[in-house]
Symmetry: C2
Subunit: 466 residues, 2 copies
């Protein structure tokens, strides 16, 4: 793709020298996120603005030349939402990484989009506050990326996802105009909820340059247990029982046998790799926590748990959660060892009503068996949100085709159970066809009309989501 | 306004006989909501559909004839959002009042828009569940109206407003197409958050015909106290201390002296009418509730409370909340007695960050004094959300002008404190000019482009919000 030199000149005039990259070697590292098996291109130029004004200048130039703009954070996404297309401007927000304000009394924080999730969590924790959304990528992913995909995490079963915590945004529109939406107050209904419209819009409606989030008081210390099951479905039944009870676990995660083995191989920690599934549950209900944990333990036993262990301390509980978070890299390693020629994984992300979890689990196992494909499943079971991770051999067209069939069959199953094909990772490129299927022609038309209203020349992350 | 007979014929063909009203006496009762001093017109026809298909037929006909459609619920709104305009079709959703599903395990309910808030609350309570949003009008107002205005209430300080509980919608678009958005799962990010876009859009983007809400387990029994203050600002200081602490009151309401007197006159119940302000606080934190209430009591004393009483039982607490809910009718009566020629009230609805509450309270008192106007203030103080109720004499142009000045001055003050001019009642006609001021030209342009995208002929509640 030819470089538009006039455009690059304009970008150089608007940004500091180090903020405009055209070196092909550098450009290549901005091509894609962590999604495997999703197409991507090579950008013509990468810009790294430091201010909202610079973002606005980039968008004005892009609008004038009608060049696509791909907003990017840490590129840790799992749906290809931040993948470049040939000749585009990649707009990396990673340099806008300041925490602008933490207001402990009104319990809000204002941050730039490049602030890393863990950086915000630690900064507010120092003031006795809590920013709950905790995607697996939290040490790496940015708040801007979390907001753009409406990221979830382990805390969501009790505390909600990213969109439940964003109350205001500054957004640069395709035209370069700067829009402020939302508020700093606990309540407010002044006009359409544009804030929620931009959250989860994956960079297709505007570039988010400032984010106001609500914070909570620090939670009370959590107590954690691990239950070991001889069938994955039994673990699912325990989750359904817990999630539909009046208890409010602060975490309710599952890891199946394949994932357990891969994690143990990746980082040995004496996980019970012979069990069919592990359920990790935490409660942070203060003085009531021991009783709540005992009730959860009983529900696990009633659902057929072979064993239940209570974590002796926070360090042991943290080790378990760390294990859970390693599922993705561990399974990538597992795939590479299983298929040295080209092992890879397709990470799925589906959600069903909590009462349908067992049906989803049994269906995933049946689909994997039928297609002769290894599928490891981990997930935020308490939300009905699972991540089946499909292990494939990219060098083998048969394996690839079977993997795609499994991917599609799991999502069909999920929709038939009243679920959604997209739980918390975003639509990106990976789920684009599924979105169309899920929201139907009227939904698609509504999406397109809103996109056209805010980005009439379709320069913002074109081709993503729908 | 002439009646378009072709249009009426089409409506009669699409709806049952009793669903199309053209009798002028009947039409008059559909002209306006509860907002005082806001303009309204007379509709040409009122339709009362029973099904989504009938709503779609009405909108197809309205689109073809380019006749405005004003969706209405119980007309209990306080911003003129449901006011008719001359010659329009009023689309009353009051007849679509079925609770379609209550799913206790997944904790969701699916309802038609005409279901009354209290009807839903009682139905889910029978299954041990809780639908928190509780606007003052809850015995009267509909879920459709609550959703359209993103109504708040007393529970919001702990449990959030209507938008925090709506997870899916069926909406008939201006074209008559039926859109389904949202989900029945705990999580889901499949596409733009159209659900949140329609919530609070006051009937300007589509007609909501089905609503899926999340439910919570029934809360634990609440303990309640009343603190009596010699200045309103001291009550505000107590609220700020409580709301910025780690306590989570389930209710935190204030009533000032004028409102107290009006309520006591309206329904005598031995309220302490000589005190400057009453603060009502509840906690529903289970075993911890007595300790939490004691802490709140201490904070009230520290802020200068003259006295603190703990409610002896739920009946006494309910009586206090009933008193609080009577503020609006009591002040209407008070106004009528003060100005027999034409007493009336302008109900304002402003919200500030919790830490600015005392400044707002002192400012309201100063503004009222400066303009020689009686202002009674009640509100959801824990959210920083107050309702200054401005008492005016409609028969006196000077009183009307002063009232308007007070109304405007309070909102200016509110914006200068980092607040919003619209807390929970919606924008409607009452706050239209203020919305434009608050969101600025870029915000207004974004609103207009979205409105045009979804309702290109501007037939849906035109002239409202912006």
């Amino acid at each position: 793709m030819d470089l538009n030199l006039d455009l690059v000149d304009e970008l150089r005039a608007a940004l500091p020298h180090e903020g405009v990259l055209t070196d092909p070697d550098l450009l290549r590292s901005y091509e894609h996120d962590e999604a495997d098996l999703v197409p991507f291109g090579t950008p013509a130029v990468v810009v790294r603005p430091k201010t909202t004004g610079q973002v606005a200048a980039v968008l004005r130039a892009a609008s004038r030349y009608k060049v696509p703009v791909i907003p990017q954070g840490a590129r840790s996404g799992l749906a290809g939402g931040a993948n470049a297309i040939d000749g585009a401007i990649v707009l990396s927000l990673i340099g806008m990484n300041e925490i602008i304000d933490i207001d402990p009394l009104n319990r809000i924080a204002v941050v730039q989009p490049g602030v890393v999730n863990a950086q915000l969590r630690r900064a507010v924790a120092e003031q006795g506050l809590y920013y709950p959304p905790d995607p697996g990528s939290w040490e790496l992913s940015t708040i801007g990326g979390n907001v753009s995909t409406d990221a979830g995490g382990m805390c969501c079963v009790k505390y909600g996802v990213t969109s439940d915590h964003v109350i205001g945004l500054e957004v640069v529109l395709a035209s370069g105009e700067v829009l402020h939406c939302g508020r700093r107050t606990a309540k407010g209904v002044a006009g359409y909820d544009l804030t929620s419209l931009f959250v989860g819009s994956e960079g297709t409606l505007g570039v988010i340059t400032e984010i106001t989030v609500k914070l909570r008081p620090a939670p009370e210390p959590a107590l954690t247990l691990v239950a070991v099951f001889n069938t994955f479905a039994a673990a699912g039944a325990a989750v359904s029982a817990i999630a539909t009870s009046d208890l409010q676990p602060s975490l309710l995660e599952v890891i199946d046998r394949v994932a357990l083995s891969a994690i143990e191989a990746y980082r040995p920690m004496d996980l019970p790799t012979t069990s069919a599934a592990l359920l990790i549950a935490s409660v942070d209900s203060g003085t009531r926590a021991p009783d709540d944990l005992a009730l959860i333990s009983t529900m696990c036993h009633d659902a057929g748990a072979a064993d239940v262990f209570v974590a002796t301390d926070a360090a042991e509980a943290d080790a378990l959660l760390t294990a859970r978070r390693l599922a993705h890299p561990a399974l990538e390693r597992f795939a590479a060892q299983l298929f040295p020629q080209g092992g890879g994984v397709m990470v799925d992300d589906v959600a069903v009503p909590r009462t349908r979890l067992v049906e989803l689990i049994e269906g995933i196992e049946r689909i994997a068996t039928e297609h002769g494909i290894v599928v490891a499943t981990v997930g935020h079971a308490g939300d009905g949100n699972l991540h089946p991770i499909i292990v494939i051999d990219r060098s083998d067209p048969v394996s690839m085709a079977q993997g795609q069939k499994v991917f599609d069959a799991i999502m069909s199953l999920c929709l038939s159970l009243g679920g959604t094909s997209t739980g918390e990772h975003g639509v990106g490129l990976l789920k684009r066809d599924w979105l169309a299927r899920e929201i139907g022609p009227t939904g698609l038309k509504a999406h397109r009309s809103i996109k056209a209203a805010l980005d009439p020349d379709n320069i913002l992350n074109p081709g993503k989501v729908f």
